[in-house]
Amino acid sequence: MRFGRSGTIRRGRLAPAAGVALLSYCLLTMTAWGQEGQLELAVKATYLVKFAAFVEWPASAFESASGPLNLCIVGAPLAGVADQVAAGQTVGQHPLAVRHIAAATHGLGCHIIFTAGAPQQSVEAAIDAVRGEPVLTVTDLPQTAPRRGIINFVLQSNHVRFDIDDREATRDGLRISSQLLALAVNVSPR
């Protein structure tokens, strides 16, 4: 049972509910933010954490077999939500660690970088900074933006979805699960 790349998959129905963990978390955060936009942020933060399980890094990307998987957030766009979601999570043998950085730089040891643009570094600059490194770059740019991360959040029918640039991922030495690729709205194939 295979699906074609998600660019061809038709979407559009509204989801009446979300996953249990996500939902409960969202309810908590909604009380904190009390706004629709903040719910979207929470979902994105949760997705950011969950992407790790569907991506394979080269072994050299880790300090050791049980070295931490670093989720680096440039600036503070998710306002600490990601920290709460990632707390105590592991991906395989690797404990998930959230690091807030001012700017992405080469050899920083990040496995996932989320950038929404920061005062010190633009999204494009951040992407360029880790180009060629096995780093999953995640952005939240409009689909028209010329330079986006390997995964870019999109909003579709009021649902948080994403595009995947599998070509870039492959170039950087990452392998993205076909299941994840199947969920992507658009995929740039290898």
């Binding site: 049972m1 699906f3 998600s6 998959i9 038709r10 979407r11 559009g12 129905r13 989801a15 509910a17 979300a18 996953g19 249990v20 963990a21 996500l22 997705y47 969950k50 399980a53 569907f54 395989g92 649902h159 979805r161 699960s177 299941q179 994840l180 199947a182 969920l183």
Partner: protein, 594 residues
């Protein structure tokens, strides 16, 4: 036999075995169906479980990222499997997340059912967990339609039918076998009964034969006793008269003496004929068969026949041309023909005609086969016919039996035809009676053809001249009276006689007297030497010694296959003074007569 017994046991146990086999077949059939059903369910569970697991592993991302559309596509893909009628993906709370239904009327359980397989009617459902690593994300539920119970049972019914048929066949075989076994036992029983009946019949037949034998022996001994008593009456009576006459003082009536003695002699001669006939009937008489021209023999009997038959019986002889020779004892053949003539005469009390006819005859196998005790071949036939009273079939059947007679007491001995029959049989031929009451009788004698024609002897010439001699004769005889009589007669004839009672004594006499010219010995002697052995030993020592045997009845020593051994000279007891004188002289002179 042991193998047969065990086979029989197996044979009898076969119906039981067949029954057991049939039951076993049925049990096996049920087990096969049961295990088939179980393994079908097991396979289906595995199949559905595999589907559920595949689905569970593919929907991880969709559940993780709350992508209901993707999940529905995944679950909807089960549509390609026609056995699956419904499936569902449940989220972490157990609420349906994505649902597939083959028909809108179908439903899926909510909330998520327990993990594992479950059955309901013809439905099989499996619920399995969706895991991301150790973390459960939700559940997957897949429900498949099993092959309808009815169609499954129809499939099993085919097997069942086969099994039942096999069992039925086995049972039928068993029943058939049982019936066979029963009839086999009945057959065995019938066979045993039949055997018992046969044995019983054999016993009865044996008893009958024994009774018939005893009857025959009784008839024979009775007849012999009757005739001998009559003869002895005459002998004793007349000799008694003679003795009394002599005691009374001399020859008062020489005529009376002579009559008495002659009567005794005649009676004794009749006794000799009687014993001769007995021996002939028993086929134990020593025959001296020689080539015989039957026509010539009958021609020579002409006078005798006319004398015997008297004037009221006409005799006609029709002698066949170019008649073959036969090998027979001429004297016995004459006796036989004479016996037949006498019988014919007695059958024609008021006169008639006797015809003696000779011819060559060939009896083929077919004829020999239908006639009792006959063999095929070439024969010289002598047919003696009369125009007398004839015989009934019953009389014909008994005519050859010894002492069977239709004549009045004192008229016949009942041994005439017995002699004929015995002699003919002993000569390798046949005798056959053709007769009907009032139509006369024909008796045919078949004598085997002599293929190598030989010189026919002249009829024996009766030597009238009584000659004695002076040679020394050794007489060996264990019976003292007989020995005394012989010695007296020989001395009367002028011979010098030495006597001995047995073989060893005779041999020592022979040693002592080399001038003995002739050994006259009885064949039957007591002790280790019989007459033949004595003669052989004597001949070995004295090759020139002449030998003459005498015997009342010689079975093996000098007679073989009913014939005298070649070169053997024999005078049968009882013999007369004249006969003895002639034979002694003939042997001494080297001119033996038949």
């Amino acid at each position: 036999m042991a193998g047969r017994a065990s086979f029989g046991k197996l044979w009898r146990a076969a119906p039981l075995i067949a029954g057991a086999t049939a039951v076993l077949l049925l049990i096996t059939g049920v087990l096969v169906v049961y295990s088939g059903e179980a393994s079908y369910r097991r396979e289906k569970i595995e199949e559905v479980d595999a589907q559920a697991r595949i689905l569970a592993s593919t929907v991880v991302a969709a559940l993780t990222f709350d992508d209901r559309n993707a999940a529905e596509i995944y679950v909807g893909a089960l549509d390609v499997n026609p056995e699956i009628e419904a499936a569902a993906i449940y989220d972490g709370n157990g609420q349906p997340f994505a649902i597939y239904r083959r028909a809108p009327t179908l439903s899926v359980p909510a909330p998520a059912p327990e993990l594992g397989p479950s059955h309901a009617d013809d439905r099989l459902s499996v619920t399995t967990a969706v895991m991301q690593g150790p973390t459960p994300l939700g559940r997957v539920y897949v429900r498949a339609v099993l092959e309808p119970l009815r169609s499954r049972y129809e499939r099993y019914a085919v097997i069942g039918l086969l099994v039942v048929m096999a069992a039925l066949v086995t049972a039928v075989l068993g029943v058939t076998q049982s019936a066979l076994s029963l009839s086999y036992r009945e057959l065995e029983q019938a066979n045993a009964e039949l055997k018992a009946q046969i044995a019983e019949r054999e016993k009865v037949e044996e008893a009958l034969r024994q009774a018939q034998k005893m009857e025959a022996i009784g008839q024979l001994t009775g007849g012999v006793a009757h005739d001998f008593n009559n003869i002895l009456q005459v002998v004793l009576g007349n000799l008694g008269n003679v003795e009394r006459q002599l005691q009374r003082g001399g020859l008062t009536d020489s005529g009376l003496l002579e009559r008495g003695i002659k009567a005794a002699i005649r009676a004794s001669e009749r006794a000799a004929v009687l014993t001769g006939q007995l021996l002939a009937f028993s086929r134990r008489q020593p025959l001296a068969p020689k080539p015989v021209d039957v026509n010539r023999l009958i021609g020579g009997m002409s006078d005798l026949l006319h004398r015997t038959l008297g004037e009221r019986v006409e005799v006609e002889t029709i002698l066949g041309a170019r008649l073959w020779q036969t090998l027979a004892d001429a004297n016995q053949l004459e006796s036989a023909l004479l016996n037949l003539a006498v019988n014919a005469r007695d059958a024609m009390p008021s006169g008639g005609k006797l015809t003696i006819e000779t011819a060559n005859a060939y009896l083929d196998e077919a004829y020999a086969a239908i006639e009792e005790d006959m063999r095929a071949g070439q024969f010289v036939v002598v047919a003696v016919s009369d125009t007398g009273t004839g015989m009934s079939p019953e009389v014909i059947r008994k005519a050859f039996d010894p002492f069977f007679t239709t004549k009045d007491i004192g008229q016949g001995t009942g041994l005439g035809l017995s002699q004929v029959y015995g002699f003919i049989k002993q000569s390798g031929g046949h005798a056959k009676i053709y007769s009907e009451l009032g139509e006369g009788t024909t008796i045919k004698l078949y004598l085997p053809r002599l293929l190598t024609a030989g010189a026919v002897d002249d009829p024996p010439v009766v030597r009238s001249a009584l000659r004695g001699g002076a040679e020394i004769i050794l007489v060996v005889e264990d019976e003292a009276d007989v020995r005394g009589f012989v010695v007296d007669m020989l001395r009367e004839l002028g011979y010098e006689v030495i006597e001995a009672a047995d073989g060893p004594a005779a041999l020592s006499v022979l040693e002592a007297r080399p001038d003995i010219k002739l050994l006259f010995t009885d064949v039957g002697l007591p002790g280790s030497f019989n007459g033949r052995q004595l003669a052989d030993e004597a001949s070995r020592r004295r090759p020139d010694l002449k030998i003459l045997y005498t015997t009342g009845y010689a079975r093996n020593a000098i007679v073989h296959q009913g014939r005298l051994d070649p070169g053997v000279e024999l005078i049968n007891k009882p013999f007369t003074y004249m006969a003895l004188a002639a034979r002694i002289r003939a042997v001494l002179d080297g001119t033996p007569s038949g």
